[in-house]
């Protein structure tokens, strides 16, 4: 502590800016970690809280995926010996049609019995606030609003509210306002309650319920009840506590969460290099100070602990700053994630409150400090080894010794070989290593380590290669800048390494995005080729409102329409994972949107699937669930277990967790659900898309809510969602670039301080200000150029492995490798420009520095 106070504190005070820049690296790293995780947790928490609040006193819930089940199931559940009370529920998310209010979660309940499980405290504490409970039940336009929502929108009982229904926009009569309570604050307060049978009618739900909430008889255990209901209802139903829905939601977001984790880890890794850079430089800069301390009797151990202590303090301060900054940015990220989840997964939730988990904050703090300590470990060790005599000799410490270079090269070669074995082992090795993903990840990590080990050597080599070019460009300044880089590879390489890692991250995300776009566009061209798509909602992932099948012949009869295909998709739980079931008329699909099979014979695949003798699965599902062609799938459904073989594996991007395609007849048989999510409409040759579209709109005007999208519009919509998916990663890319720029600023600032004598001498012998300024600029641009070259090289390798991770562990999608040339071309001027901007202040500082002071430094 004494050393920290006497030695470190004055040093920090003297180099405030550098200290701030160093700390900023860890602030950003921790902030990204905290921001992303807090936002992610907030979204999960918001969903779980909505589930909890709606669940009320519910102990168990009976569900069958998104499809719901026949009403008769309710009587079976109510008759169970262990069930005290069981009530049906339908949840529907509808557009509130109020500016800035977004969606409204509509809870369809049976008002005659639901109060056994939920408290609908009415505003006056008196049921009379519902003008008349009988009128509420008798009139299908009755709606009750939460006080929060009613107050926000100045709606009182008796007012009307316009909502989109299966029959078009309808006016609903507000016949009650619920008092603010746990229930009403669900879904951010945007909650409304309707009679369940009215919801069925208004939202085209047929005679189905989404789920049953129940409470167990006194004296009977939840386990007893679960056992009884599972035995009675069969495997097509899930019987679990309300928290199970939160777990399913988490499972659905697994791919997204994995992306967040990878990005956060990278952000921290980059932050670590900033710290390493700063401490490595500090050690070299303070060699004389260390030498004096050693000469005065300080032990090596004390010197090591001095630097580790400094890094711990820096890490702690940076982490604390990161926590604050992270929490500040989390709200914006949460809103973005919420919108993304709603658009990509069709699951609506509102993360209005931040779930700042103490565990996440403590973890971030710990990781921040640990990262800082790890980053400073090598510089601290080097500091401890400083020879007091050599310490007072100037100039040699930035040089990389031949021995060290050799050692680095040997280590890199050995680790490179280990890495190659690790990366190949899961694919080729028999025995226990086969398919072991941990081994693959070790190999992946080693690739990065090898790159980092080699970065000083490669930086040096590249700097030497650059020297003739720089000299050719500016004989004096270019040579000086190149010499500076060559003579201090340590100083340069840490900054280059940070830049390299940032660019690696950028290349990975950009490459993944590009590959995804290309694959999705290919898939859309084959699978989504109808001229028009008719949907009951503006969102293609919103399955709240559905069409009756009777519309199909109506549509087919319209002039200009050649063929109509009915599509019903719904998320079900398959092998404990939420996956998408897509039920289509496969025979018709084979004639219009025939896809080649990744595995299997396409003719056989379509013939058998159309005959209800098999199922087609998407290749991502096959990868994630290790499914093989011909394997018999067992899919639990409300009306029995489907046992059919996989007839073919196809490319399909309908869902990140995978898709099972079946013939509509199979779906009808096992789900008793004939509703339709989307009509695919093909036009007769010569028919005009706008005219037919208008005919469809006219046909259902005032009767039914229909949204008709052209082929181009639907594809645009899907690409927009894809943009959204990668939008968040753009933020992370920006942060990564920012961290890298910080690294450059830090390096240059240190470089100036480090070379005050040299710069002072230059000025003394007649060096012009412009020459000095240009020297610094060129040095900065050279660091950026070296970073760009190494970053692109490592990025190219990293992208390959990231695509492997996506394929095996994230979404199962087989994305083709495509190096993101466009991004690379954009990064070159961006990073060079950023380096130049980063060099302005250090250059000015060097120019304006006092000559006397510079020489006094000696």
């Amino acid at each position: 502590m004494m050393l920290l106070r006497l030695i470190s504190w004055p040093y920090f005070r003297k180099h405030v800016l550098r200290t701030l820049l160093t700390t900023a690296g860890i602030v950003l790293g921790v902030a990204v970690f905290v921001g992303m995780h807090t936002a992610n947790e907030s979204v999960l928490f918001a969903f779980s809280r909505t589930v909890d609040r709606i669940a009320g006193k519910t102990e168990l819930q009976v569900t069958a995926g998104e499809t719901g089940f026949d009403e008769e199931v309710l009587e079976t559940v109510q008759a169970a010996s262990t069930v005290r009370v069981a009530v049906p529920i339908i949840e529907a998310v509808v557009e509130s049609n109020l500016p800035g209010q977004g969606n409204l979660l509509l809870l369809g309940i049976d008002m005659t019995g639901d109060r056994s499980l939920r408290d609908y405290d009415l505003d006056s504490g008196d049921e009379a606030v519902i003008d008349d409970p009988l009128v509420f039940l008798a009139q299908p336009d009755s709606i009750m609003l939460s006080k929060e929502f009613a107050d926000r929108n100045h709606i009182a009982a008796g007012a009307r509210l316009r909502l989109g229904t299966v029959e078009g926009d309808k006016q609903f009569a507000v016949r009650g306002v619920m008092k603010a309570s746990g229930l009403t604050s669900a879904f951010g307060g945007n909650l409304a309650v309707m009679d369940i049978y009215a919801v069925q009618k208004m939202f085209g739900r047929g005679r189905k319920f989404d789920r049953i909430d129940l409470a167990v008889k006194p004296g009977r255990s939840l386990a007893d009840c679960e056992r009884e209901l599972r035995a009675t209802l069969g495997p097509g139903f899930l019987v679990e506590p309300p928290s199970g829905r939160g777990q399913q939601f988490e499972a659905m977001l697994a791919a997204y969460s994995m992306m967040v984790n990878i990005s956060s880890a990278f952000a921290l890794f980059i932050g670590m290099f900033i710290i390493y850079n700063a401490f490595a430089i500090a050690v070299t800069e303070r060699r004389s100070e260390i030498g004096i301390l050693r000469a005065l009797g300080a032990t090596r151990r004390q010197i090591r602990w001095l630097f580790l202590g400094e890094s711990a303090v820096t890490g702690l301060v940076g982490s604390l700053g990161g926590l604050v900054f992270g929490v500040l940015i989390a709200r914006g990220i949460a809103a973005s994630i919420g919108a993304l989840i709603s658009d990509v997964y069709g699951v609506a939730q509102r993360a209005d409150e931040l779930a700042t988990s103490p565990v996440t904050l403590a973890l971030a703090l710990g990781i921040g400090v640990l990262t800082s300590l790890v980053a400073a470990a090598i510089p601290a060790r080097n500091a401890a080894r400083v020879d007091p005599v050599q310490a007072l000799q100037k100039g040699k410490y930035q040089v990389l010794s031949a021995g060290e270079s050799r050692l680095r090269a040997i280590l890199a070669a050995v680790l490179g070989a280990v890495s190659t074995v690790c990366l190949l082992a899961p694919d080729v090795a028999p025995g226990p290593l086969a398919g072991l993903r941990a081994v693959f990840y070790v190999g992946f990590g080693l690739v990065i380590v090898v790159a980092l080990l080699l970065s000083p050597l490669l930086s040096l080599a590249l700097a030497k290669a650059l020297k003739p070019i720089l000299r050719w460009l500016r004989p004096v300044e270019g040579a000086l800048a190149a010499d500076s880089l060559i003579q201090s590879p340590r100083r340069t390489s840490a900054s280059v390494a940070a830049l390299m890692l940032s660019l690696t991250l950028v290349i990975a995300f950009a490459g993944m995005a590009r590959a995804s776009y290309t694959s999705i566009i290919d898939w859309m061209h084959t699978a989504l080729n109808p001229d028009l798509f008719i949907m009951p909602s503006q969102s293609i992932v919103n399955r709240t409102i559905r069409f009756p099948p009777e519309m199909a012949p109506d549509l087919a009869a319209l002039p200009g329409v050649e063929r109509v295909q009915m599509v019903r998709d719904a998320r079900i739980v398959f092998r404990k994972t939420p996956v998408m079931v897509v039920a289509v008329e496969v025979n018709s699909l084979a004639q219009t949107a025939r896809r080649e099979a990744v595995e299997g014979n396409a003719d056989d695949m379509y013939r058998r699937t159309a005959a209800g003798e098999g199922l087609m699965v998407s290749d991502n599902l096959a990868n994630l669930q290790h499914l093989k062609l011909g394997e018999i799938l067992e899919i639990p459904a409300p009306n029995g277990v489907i046992r059919l073989p996989i007839t073919g594996i196809v490319v399909d991007y309908s869902d990140q967790q995978g898709t099972i395609l079946m013939d509509r007849s199979v779906f009808l048989k096992y789900w008793h659900d004939d509703t339709v999510n989307v009509f695919r409409v093909y036009l007769t040759p010569g028919a005009q898309v706008p005219q037919v579209r208008q005919r469809i709109l006219d046909r259902y005007a005032g009767q039914r809510q229909v949204f008709v999208l052209t082929n181009g519009e639907l594809k645009g919509y899907i690409l927009k969602i894809t943009d959204q998916w990668f939008g968040l990663t753009s933020v992370q890319i920006a942060v990564a670039v920012l961290v890298a720029i910080l690294g450059i600023v830090n390096t240059l600032t240190v470089s100036i301080t480090d070379r005050r004598r040299e710069l002072g001498v230059l000025k003394a012998v007649g060096g012009l200000r412009g020459q000095i300024r240009r020297t610094i600029w060129i040095e900065a641009l050279s660091i950026a150029a070296i970073g760009l070259v190494l970053g692109f090289a490592l990025g190219a390798i990293n992208l390959y492995y990231i695509l492997q991770i996506v394929h095996h562990d994230i979404s199962g999608l087989r994305l083709d490798y495509e190096f993101p040339i466009g991004t690379v071309l954009a990064l070159v001027p961006t990073m060079l420009g950023a380096a130049f901007v980063a060099a302005i202040w250090p250059a000015e500082s060097a120019v304006r520095g006092s000559l006397v002071e510079a020489l006094e430094y000696e």
């Binding site: 008769e72 009587e75 019995g113 056994s116 008196d126 009379a128 039940l137 299908p140």
Partner: protein, 283 residues
Amino acid sequence: MSSETRLITKTRRTRRSRRPTNNLLSDALCVFVVLFAAQRYAVAHAGYAAGPDAREIVEEAQKRTDAKSQRYEGLLQVFDAKGKVSDKRWSFERLGAHGQSKSVLRFTAPAEVKGVAMLIVNHPDRASDQWMWTPALERDRRIALQDRSTRFFGTDFSFEDLEERDVNQYTYASLGEESVDGAGCWKIQSTPKEGRSSQYTRSIVWIRKDNYTLLRIENYVKDQVVRRLSYTDVQNVQGIWTARQLEMVDLRRNSRTRLTVDKLEYNVPFKDEDFTLQAIRRQ
């Protein structure tokens, strides 16, 4: 089997297994659904575990209200704690012996609830089956057994109060005699037997000594009176003493519901098929 098919089957079974009237509660007490149900309920609670006297009183009360069918038009007025009054009108028809009768209650006013109907099919050995028909939705819904303690459409009656109950499902105690509104009454307590589900722990019934009509029922949850039903304006209609006005007070909510009976007729010639789900959907 759909609810509807089950109902038809049940109705047939009920006809075949009709029990002698003297084993059941008095039909004559039941002049309209709530009155009918509440009185049935109360009389069922009255019974005679404490001795033959209580039983004889109940049996006699039951016998004096015996009728093959009945019809009336009712005015239902709900007075909330703030004094706000809401009115509804309904027509009520009932067919069959007590404990296994079928009733149809149809709202006629106000316009928003016109056509909403309830079908109640009573069983001597178990809880009744109840369905509600909402014409605007064109849907019927079954009122589940678990929901019987719920308030009947915002009134102070519960769905359970609409049921007819068998006397054998309760144990009884005579609590002596007491006057109600100047009329001498027997005071009898009934308690549901073990295994018999009810929201009420026990009930106390006052039966007039001169004509065996009910004058008051108090329903208890544990030791607290939660609902009190009073019968007034007792008149002789076609030889059956019948209260023309009932008032249920919910003592926890401090609200009350009054039912006024009009155009009351007994032994009206109804058909069995008028008391099915198809029938209430048709009208």
